[in-house]
């Protein structure tokens, strides 16, 4: 793993939603760092504030306290260094634009020549295997293909970090396996740093170089686990490795502990 200054640094992040019914602490105290080029998976029990964390990372939500730092400078709003792939591809892609139009839209305000922009869009669509669908509309494509379009849009934006929020939760198993391999491939071939949020333990172990297991709310990092599987992974052989089983068991146990909540990790009384 490359050393040096981290790409992304999260320190004592805390997020409280206040409402008339009372305050809800979505994230308690969360810290981690990420090196350039890493693929980090974040798993946790459902309702543990994964999406909140991701929105804080992407600058879409302001943390109540704590710090998110990108390349040494604090993230105060959406950053050009980050691109988000949302879970709900059907609501994140614009149905009135073609596939090409969707990928191109975020680039329109970047200072690029037309030729340059066209090249980037074409390249991104090729990278996700959809060059032939450029002129279709998203709703004419299958769910898996729509999510590929969203991924193409994110990588065409040329972010330093790709943030993915349970991107494959809504597609069938076979499509999901293909999309997982696409993420691995993009990571290996293009060295894109990726934060991948998921609730699927197998997926996190298969994809990640590191897995952060989150605790139940108020959320903290329960465990920071290095996935020492070979970088070339394969749906059949990698998942059949004894080490894969060990790691997934480890993550599973941590999540079970996390689910039991604060009892497993007693906190000092205030």
């Amino acid at each position: 793993m490359p050393d040096g200054s981290p790409l992304l640094r999260v320190e004592h992040l805390r997020k409280v939603y206040s409402s008339a019914a009372g305050d809800v602490e979505a994230i308690g105290d969360l810290s981690f760092t990420m090196q350039p080029g890493e693929l980090v998976c974040i798993v946790g029990p459902s309702g543990c504030g994964k999406t909140t964390l991701l929105k804080c990372l992407a600058g879409l939500l302001r943390p109540t306290s704590g710090l998110v730092e990108m390349d040494g400078s604090p993230v105060t709003g959406p950053s050009p260094a980050m691109a988000v792939v949302f879970q709900e591809y059907g609501r994140s892609l614009y149905p009135w634009l073609t596939v090409r139009g969707n990928v191109e839209l975020p680039l329109r305000h970047k200072k690029l020549s037309r030729a340059e922009r066209d090249r980037i869009v074409t390249d991104a669509l090729e990278a996700v295997g959809l060059p032939q669908s450029a002129r279709s509309h998203p709703w004419q494509l299958s769910g898996g293909m729509q999510q590929r379009v969203a991924i193409a849009r994110a990588i065409a934006y040329r972010p330093e970090v790709l943030i993915m929020d349970e991107p494959f939760a809504a597609v069938d198993a076979q499509t999901r396996a293909d999309l997982e391999d696409l993420v691995r491939e993009l990571h290996l071939a293009r060295g894109i740093s990726t934060v991948f949020v998921t609730h699927d333990i197998d997926e996190s172990v298969y994809l990640g170089q590191r897995v952060l297991v989150l605790s139940n709310s108020p959320t903290r990092v329960q465990e920071d686990l290095v996935i020492d599987l070979p970088p070339e992974r394969d749906q059949l052989t990698t998942r059949a490795l004894p080490r894969f089983t060990e790691l997934r068991t480890r993550v599973y146990q941590q999540i079970q502990r996390a689910k039991r909540g604060p009892a497993a990790a007693p906190q000092p009384a205030p």
């Binding site: 980050m82 149905p95 709703w139 494509l141 849009r153």
Partner: protein, 271 residues
């Protein structure tokens, strides 16, 4: 990989279907006209005339100078009124729809204004603006703007939060966001509003001309009525009906073009 899901195919019977649709569409009107002719030859009521008499009056009245003197001014007022309603209604609707505070403040007021029957504004507009084209356009706008405004507000308000978050995360600038995200997202609702505005605008055009005008369809129809030119009066009503149909057809074409993505999406989700 199949990029396109098959839309339901209609291979055979297309000609038959068109024939059936046409005969359904035109059958009843033709039947009514035939019955009407038969009845009018026996009727002695001089205010209810037969279709042939009306067609003859139509040709005599509207094909010629009256087209320039009355039909064009009416269409001009209608077109200008509709255009102003769309521009103002959409612009105000986008602003009100995007600002929650403003929306909550204005909602009761807008409901009140919408509830006022626009024809009662004609006497007021006459006093303030005189008997001018501006007055008629203002009256048309005062009625036709509401469906557009309120539908735009609703459309903008209901824009999908994930779509907006996506735009935020990619730092899409304000103007781009308006033209490429907010307006297209609201466009189905905006088009619904425009469709409702069409009929309101046509009604107000006629009424404002009947009240205070020296030209226009409404003025001419009222003139024929006062002078017992019964067939001519009916022919004016026929012309208004035709203009209404024409408006609907033109609107249908524009809507099909603007909302192609929307109808396509609907069709696929139904399949």
């Amino acid at each position: 990989m199949t990029a396109l899901r098959a839309t339901d195919a209609r291979p055979r019977g297309l000609v038959t279907r068109i024939a059936v649709n046409v005969s359904f569409g035109f059958g009843l009107p033709v039947l009514i006209v035939v019955l009407w002719s038969a009845w009018s030859t026996r009727s002695t009521n001089r205010f209810l005339v037969g279709p042939l008499t009306i067609l003859d009056a139509f040709r005599r009245t509207w094909i010629g100078p009256a087209f320039v003197d009355d039909v064009l001014p009416s269409l001009y007022r209608l077109g200008l009124g509709l255009l102003a309603s769309i521009v103002l209604g959409v612009a105000a609707g986008v602003v009100i729809g995007s600002l929650r505070r403003l929306r909550d403040t204005l909602e009761p007021l807008l409901e009140f204004f919408r509830a006022i029957p626009p024809p009662v504004l004609i006497p007021v507009a006459m006093l303030l603006l005189g008997i001018t084209d501006t007055m008629k356009v203002v009256v048309i706008v005062s009625g036709a703007i509401w469906p557009i405004l309120l539908n735009t507000v609703e459309g903008v308000r209901a824009t999908d939060s994930v779509m907006l978050e996506t735009a935020d995360s990619f730092r899409i600038p304000r103007r781009e966001r308006l033209w490429s995200v907010v307006l297209p997202a609201a466009s189905p609702r905006i088009m619904t509003g425009v469709r409702q505005a069409l009929s309101v605008a046509l009604i107000l055009m006629v009424i404002s001309e009947m009240f205070a005008s020296s030209s226009g369809l409404g003025y001419r129809i009222a003139y024929f009525q006062r002078n017992y030119l019964v067939a001519e009066m009916w022919s004016g009503i026929l012309l208004l009906g035709l203009i209404g149909v024409l408006l609907a057809v033109v609107f249908g074409l524009v809507e099909r073009r603007v909302l192609r993505w929307y109808h396509g999406m609907k069709e696929i989700s139904r399949a």
